[in-house]
């Protein structure tokens, strides 16, 4: 080896040793660390992306040391200036080795040349797998402006977002029990650059529907697939945004809300006069066996003057898959109106055990209600309870179940009180939820800190969206719209 090589080796040695610091004589603190995102004592699936984090308050902290130790086996040691950034392979190995167990995390930090160690916290690794990805709408918070609104897909074992479609008002993405090969979404438009449409995707086929007819009150809005894939239940509503003088900067109310069934195969709306009256029927959802339809119901209110009195109850009605017709017996499952509250977006779990819904002060769009909380209705016990282990003082809304019904995803403003982010929580066999954790990002503080959009209407997907953005756009802008008929 010549002289030059020696210098290189010396430089490398100095470089490597200069970049690590050892915890020396740390003072033990009697508290757990406050992290961003808050991953302290959360339960995560074993196939989740590395939960990168940092101390929430980095004031004066110049070094952080983190040791992760699996209850079964494996460990990771990270020494860093700010971001605790896990190597994906190391992380995957550790969580897989500790499936069903826990990872004990010891975090130390150096401040003014002194080391401090927090009380260790745990990350519980669930043996229940989470779905492939989460599909959601990302939107800038505005009254009318569309901005960068779009439908996105994020793999849950990674960080990258994929654009499904954007560049217009795309909303209410709904798939059939997390199957992206059977899904739908709406495109709202005044006609330019393309007329509005409801896109129904079945396998490789995309049909663009014109859902307005002379015999119905409005176009399709909130939809839910029948498990067979033959029908979609829709609420026909006329939501309007407005600016109240105080409280929320933007609020919304419905002019009307009717309930219809759309027969995908026959391209027909099956209308039932009982559910298209002056009363409000909203946000339908089929039970996993397809025999029951859940929906929100409120008596007619003079709108918009009494928009704060629009309190929806949770009701159910039987459904005949053969005829596509709703049955005679209508049951009230949860009477929220007696509490002065409103049920929004009932979402039955796919194992049929529970119905998850948001309970808010009034109306359907709980995201605008700061008091909106998640509630769980036990189908067998016929009882509902507030998810105190999940809720916060901020709005929790737009919830959905994973395909295995072991995980939920929801949108919450808990992070900064305004910009909704996605959170995940695990449900155990007793119906108790774990502490929710935020959608992981490579550098969460920087990403969520700089991002001024909101995440809404999330739902799990078991596989990537089969169609490319270009394919979807091509179909959308071709201009052809299939007119929906009404079955008589």
């Amino acid at each position: 080896m010549n002289k030059f090589s020696h210098y290189i080796l010396l430089f490398l040695f100095l470089f490597l040793t200069a970049c690590t610091e050892r915890v020396v004589d740390a003072t033990q603190l009697n508290e757990k660390p406050v992290l961003y995102p808050d991953y302290v004592d959360v339960t995560v699936p074993y196939n989740i992306a590395p939960l990168n984090f940092q101390l929430n308050d980095m004031e004066g902290v110049d070094w952080v040391d983190v040791v992760l130790k699996g209850s079964c086996s494996g460990d990771i040691h990270i020494s860093t200036r700010r971001l605790v950034d896990f190597d994906k392979q190391e992380w995957n190995e550790l969580v897989n080795k500790n499936k069903g167990g826990e990872i004990v995390v010891t975090l130390s930090f150096r401040k003014a040349d002194k080391w401090y160690s927090y009380k260790p916290f745990k990350i519980y690794v669930s043996g229940d797998k989470i779905d492939h990805s989460v599909v959601y709408r990302r939107i800038q918070y505005g009254y009318e402006a569309v901005g960068e609104i779009g439908l996105y897909e994020t793999r849950l074992d990674g960080y990258n977002d994929r654009v499904i479609i954007k560049g217009g008002c795309f909303n209410c993405h709904t798939s059939n029990q997390c199957n992206p090969k059977q899904s739908m979404w709406h495109y709202r438009s005044s006609g330019v650059p393309a007329p509005g449409a409801t896109a129904v995707i079945t396998g490789d086929s995309v049909v663009m529907l014109d859902t307005k007819t002379n015999e119905t009150s409005g176009g399709f809005v909130y939809g839910y697939w029948h498990p067979s894939g033959r029908y979609i239940a829709y609420a026909l509503t006329g939501p309007r945004c407005f600016i109240p003088l105080c409280q929320e900067p933007v609020d919304e109310y419905d002019h009307f809300a009717d309930l219809v069934i759309y027969d995908v195969k026959a391209n027909e709306i099956i209308k039932d006069e009982r559910f298209t009256t002056r009363d409000f029927f909203n946000a339908p959802a089929f039970s996993p066996d397809g025999k029951t339809l859940y929906f929100s119901y409120s008596k007619n209110k003079y709108m918009p003057v009494n928009y704060k009195e629009l309190d929806y109850d949770l009701l159910s009605v039987s459904f005949d898959e053969k005829t596509g017709k709703l049955g005679d017996k209508v049951d009230t499952l949860f009477r929220a109106s007696t509490m002065g509250k409103s049920v929004s977006f009932a979402r039955p779990s796919y194992d049929g055990k529970y119905i998850l819904f948001a309970l808010c002060g009034y109306g359907m769009l709980s995201v605008y209600n700061k008091d909106s909380d998640l509630w769980l209705y036990d189908v067998r016990k016929k009882k509902a309870r507030a998810l105190t282990e999940v809720n916060t003082d901020e709005s929790e809304s737009f919830h959905n179940w994973s395909s295995t019904s072991k995980w939920i995803v929801f949108s919450s403003r808990r992070d900064d009180g305004f910009y909704a982010r996605l959170y995940f929580a695990h449900i155990d066999s007793k119906g108790r939820f774990s502490k929710p954790f935020m959608l992981p990002k490579k550098d969460p503080k920087t990403f969520y800190g700089d991002f001024t959009g909101i995440y809404s209407v999330p739902e799990f997907a078991t596989a990537p969206t089969p169609l490319s953005r270009r394919e979807i756009k091509a179909r959308l802008f071709e201009g052809g719209r299939k007119k929906v008929r009404v079955r008589h």
Partner: protein
Amino acid sequence: MKNRTQVFEWASTLIVAVIIFCFFYFYAWGGMYCYGNEELFLLSTDYFLRYLSYPSGFLQLAAKLFAQFLIFRFVGATMFSLLIILLQRSVWKVASVFKRKHIYYLLSFIILDLFFFDNVIVRGYPMLTVGCVLNYFVFLLAVKVKETKTRYCIESVLLFLMYWLTGGVFFVLATLLIAYEVRYYLLRKMYYEALFCLVIIIFNTLLYPCIASYYFEWNFSEVAMFANVGSGPSVIFYLSLASVLPLVIAYIPKLNFVNDVLLHCVQLLLVVVYVCFGVNSINRELEYLYRDVYFASNNQWESICENAKDHKPDYMSRCVIRNIALQKCGKMVDEFYKDVPSNYRLFLFPQDDMQRASFSFCASTGIVAYELGLENLALEYFTEYNASQLVDNLNVLFLKYQVKVLIARGDYKVANKLLNILKKTLFHRKWACEMSEFLYNDKKVMQNEELAKFRKMKYPENLVYSMIETDVVLYTLYKSNLNNKALYEYLLFEILRHRDLRDFAIVYDLGSKYIEYPKGIPLNFQQALSLYWVMAGKSLDEIPYYIETQVLQDCLRIYYGSKHNENVLPFVKKKYPGTFWVYYFNN
């Protein structure tokens, strides 16, 4: 001789630089200020990497870096003149490599024309300049490096990088330059080399859209859009024209004197046509609006009034800002009906919903709402504009307003988030740090005059309303803020806009116990009160306010005249120009 030519060339360039500097420093400074605020440039690795990850991102980043300096008048004007000179000289340098500098000389100034296009001005110029300079160095490398295989390799790598970093600007120029090389080889019968160059062109021409198209799932129009963000296709068109024409003409065999003269004439014509077209497209009204926004954001209300006097507002948004400035200067009650076109004069808020996400609409509505204490309306319009932009293009000025409203209403969490974003900027960090001291500190908020005033304004009830119900909103807020003169006057003028004399009399009476006019009741209000009294059939002797005798006499004359179908407008216009009566009797 050579020295004289050089002096002439440099002198002409410097003269152009001075003209550009003067144009921006003395005329277009309002636009510079607003455009400078349009560019949120963050000092963060994540931000840089995000930009560098897509085609032409580097160029956009460079452009954003430059654009934020525009908020400083002197720096902005200097920067623009330097950029333009750099651009002109680099085009010229490229021409000199062809040994055809004189041919490009006139045409290199055609780029001046681009100044006059709004969408080009901010990002277009820095992008073009950086793109051209990079392009120039690549070209020099390509021409000067010895013709070996290494050169082709260097060329390919550089071209790939340039395509990726600079996008469309390089796309056109580079293709033209390589086309020149092809020609060079063909003339020397070096067919393999020519073929290789052609492959480079085809490869890169296809590569760029293909990468963008497949990697980002873009369609071609999106690729084109991203390649020329901010500058638009016009830039590409002009540059192509500037490059292609001389190239075509320059290589007509055996150039002679006639051809040269003809060429220069054509170029001169082009420059004149483009500059005339450019000058014609300058939007003076918009520039004045930008100046008003600058004054409003710096609380220089008198300057807005002066600006309106010197250059009468034509845009609705300008009238709206002018009205709040009048109120701030205590002149609203006397001058509200003066000096603005009759169709716009009465707007307290812009009424054109089609322009909801435009800068002028959001700025004027937001500023007026902010000054009046209409918290949600102010927040809504500043947020609305930013929501309509791409994620990284938040308007800094509006962000600051958002922060102030949020702090005033106690939404500290959200305010903190926005402040953290502003702390990552170069020029707004200090402001953000100062504002951070108000977070979660209600006592300090109440000690700050501006924030405390906003916080004290409270609505007694929540209402659903739309913009056309401005009077309802103002009345609701005024009911619980009876000492607020701005609200009072806005409410009265809003009622007068509807010619509703009865409501005017009621509201005037309500506020007269709290709001004082030391010089007596303003003439516009005297006119409205006396007219109401007469029309209600009440005796003028019983009117509980002091109205000038002349006004009372004229009121009776006008009333009875109009009752007998007499056209009273000429009399009113002559005796009381620019007052409420003119508005009232004018249809």
